[in-house]
């Protein structure tokens, strides 16, 4: 589905992503596990083609097509979208309108804005007419962001720290939404630094120092992350003896 080949990104003279290789499979939930500052959100920005993250070396192949030079809109119309870690707020734009926007270019979208809100645990009557502005709490805004991605029924959903800033009682909704994506055939790239969330994935990759160190079973990758990446004992190379039968890039 998505292949990142030898991605290099330098920002302000600093190497942020280095020889990064990653492959996701259609319909899987694929966690990207990494500590703060290891390049997780940068990776998401590169895949989506955000401004400032377009000047990369390497290739992004999506469903067999090289999309490295496509705009954000072109990528979105091919089915790639993202739920931001800190979603933007829009004065005067109602939640219902925001959820509908993504459906214009998503012929496969079938859930109504009302259904999408219910999926993320928000009561439609209380939210559809509200603006996507600063009157929403951080948690509400993040759940609406998830709902808007759900409304698009994308082929690839990048969820950047979808679990952060959400109260403990609502995490179950987030986890269930992630599973709903997968059931609907959407591939999920789940960016997180929470091991427990990463472990709901089918596969996981550990990102450290701007490169993928290990890909494979989420529990094994989480263990690897716990033992080697949380304190960032190494930057770009896995510790000796950590090579396993799982696919390892870099």
């Amino acid at each position: 589905m998505l292949q990142l080949k030898n991605i290099e990104l330098v920002l302000n003279g600093k190497q942020i992503l280095h020889d990064l290789n990653l492959e996701t499979r259609t319909g899987e939930i694929h966690s990207i596990l990494g500590a703060n500052g290891t390049g997780k959100s940068t990776l998401a920005s590169v895949i989506l083609g955000l401004s400032g993250y377009r000047e990369i070396a390497g290739k992004i192949i999506y469903c067999g097509e090289d999309i490295t030079n496509l705009s954000i809109s072109e990528r979105a119309r091919r089915g790639i979208t993202m739920a931001w870690q800190e979603p933007a707020r829009f004065e005067g734009l109602r939640v219902a309108e925001y959820l509908n926007l993504g459906q214009r270019h998503a012929p496969g979208a079938s859930l109504s804005p009302r259904e999408c809100l219910m999926k993320v645990g928000l009561t439609p009557e209380n939210y559809l007419a509200r603006a996507v502005d600063s009157t929403l709490s951080g948690g509400e805004r993040k759940r609406i962001e998830l709902a808007s991605v759900l409304a698009m029924k994308p082929k690839l959903a990048i969820l950047d720290e979808a679990d952060s800033g959400i109260d403990a009682l609502s995490i179950d909704y987030v986890v269930e939404v992630i599973r709903t994506f997968s059931r609907n055939g959407t591939t999920v790239l789940l960016i997180t630094h929470h091991e427990e969330v990463a472990e709901i994935a089918d596969r996981a990759s550990s990102l450290c120092g701007g490169t993928i160190l290990k890909t494979g079973d989420p529990v094994a990758v989480a263990r690897f992350f716990r033992n080697h990446c949380q304190e960032c004992l190494h930057i770009n190379m896995p510790a000796e003896g950590e090579q396993s039968n799982d696919t390892v890039f870099a």
């Binding site: 401004s51 979603p87 698009m152």
Partner: protein, 316 residues
């Protein structure tokens, strides 16, 4: 069957184009005043709302009184406009909102064919003690940009009263817009002034909003949302004066420029006279926020579509 003058029909049509419901101008249960150029075409009073109107050589005078203690269920409709290409319309108005009353005004000003039109509004608003007033004015202009719009409004919000004053000019090309609003906000009173404008071509937009928080615990918000496209130039002066204990005021200005030749400036002015007053301001000027645009592009919109959504939302 009611016979309408051609002028009334033309104004009603423009009224609808600006978002108004023209049938409300004929509703006998809604107070209303319709002024075309310097002619009062229609006037309707209801229980609790009195309208005294008079024509002048260059416009009209109107005194609107809401009796104390009355709650006006349906909005009072005001319709002003100049249909020909040229003309002057000077409106001198006075609003006297009685103690404890509640009323909403919907005003629409239409200049669909203006090539050389001057429209001035010299208004005095008095909101009585514990009264609530909302005044919402929407403008509709053609594409010739030949209008000079000069609203000058002096407001007094008396003890415990509430006034929300909204001005919106987002349809068509105005030419020149100079807003000058000034509010005297008294003890426990609340005043919100909100101006929204979309300037295009060679428009000149100037907004001055002043809040004088003169009473203890007075609250005020001066808000402006301006978009300057093409070669439009805009300037916003947001002023708040904290002149009493525990007065709170906020000046909130956002100006977006679209196009390399557009210009925008913002000047906040906060003056604290009482040491228990507190004033704040925020201003953002520049292009549309990149993150907002990219978020919408990630939903499949083109960059232009995304900017349009952001701007329309802000000016709503």
């Amino acid at each position: 069957m009611i016979q309408f003058s051609h002028e009334f029909e033309a104004l009603a049509k423009a009224y609808e184009a600006s978002g108004g419901d023209a049938s409300a101008l004929l509703d006998k249960e809604s107070a209303s005043l319709v002024v075309s150029h310097n002619k009062i075409l229609a006037k309707n009073e209801i229980a609790g709302v009195h309208i005294e109107g008079g024509e002048t050589p260059t416009g009209a005078k109107a005194k609107i009184t809401v009796e104390p203690g009355t709650l006006i269920k349906k909005p009072v409709h005001l319709c002003f406009g100049v249909i020909p290409k040229e003309g002057i319309q000077e409106i001198i108005s006075q609003f006297d909102i009685g103690e404890g009353s509640r009323v909403t005004f919907l005003a629409h000003c239409s200049f669909p064919n203006a090539v050389k039109v001057k429209h001035t509004m010299d208004a005095r608003i008095y909101v009585g003690k514990r009264a609530e007033m909302t005044y919402s004015e929407t403008h509709y202009h053609g594409e010739f940009g030949g209008t000079e719009v000069l609203p000058i409004v002096k407001m007094i919000v008396d003890e415990g009263g509430s006034l929300k004053n909204e001005f919106k000019l987002v349809h068509g090309t105005v030419g020149c817009l100079r807003i000058d609003y000034e509010a005297d906000v008294r003890k426990d009173a609340v005043c919100e002034i909100d101006a929204k404008a979309y300037g295009k071509k060679d428009d000149r937009i100037s907004v001055k909003e002043s809040l004088f928080l003169n009473g203890e615990n007075a609250r005020g918000l001066a808000k402006s949302r301006i978009v300057s496209a093409d070669r439009c130039q805009s300037e916003v002066i947001g002023e708040a004066v904290g002149n009493a204990p525990f007065a709170r005021g906020h000046v909130d200005c956002v100006e977006i420029i679209k196009g390399k030749e557009a210009r925008a400036s913002a000047i906040p002015r906060l003056v604290v006279i009482d040491d228990c007053a507190k004033l704040t301001h925020e201003a953002a000027i520049g292009s549309v926020d990149k993150k907002q645009v990219e978020t919408l592009m990630a939903r499949g919109l083109t960059e232009d579509e995304a900017i349009d959504v952001v701007v329309k939302g802000m000016l709503r």
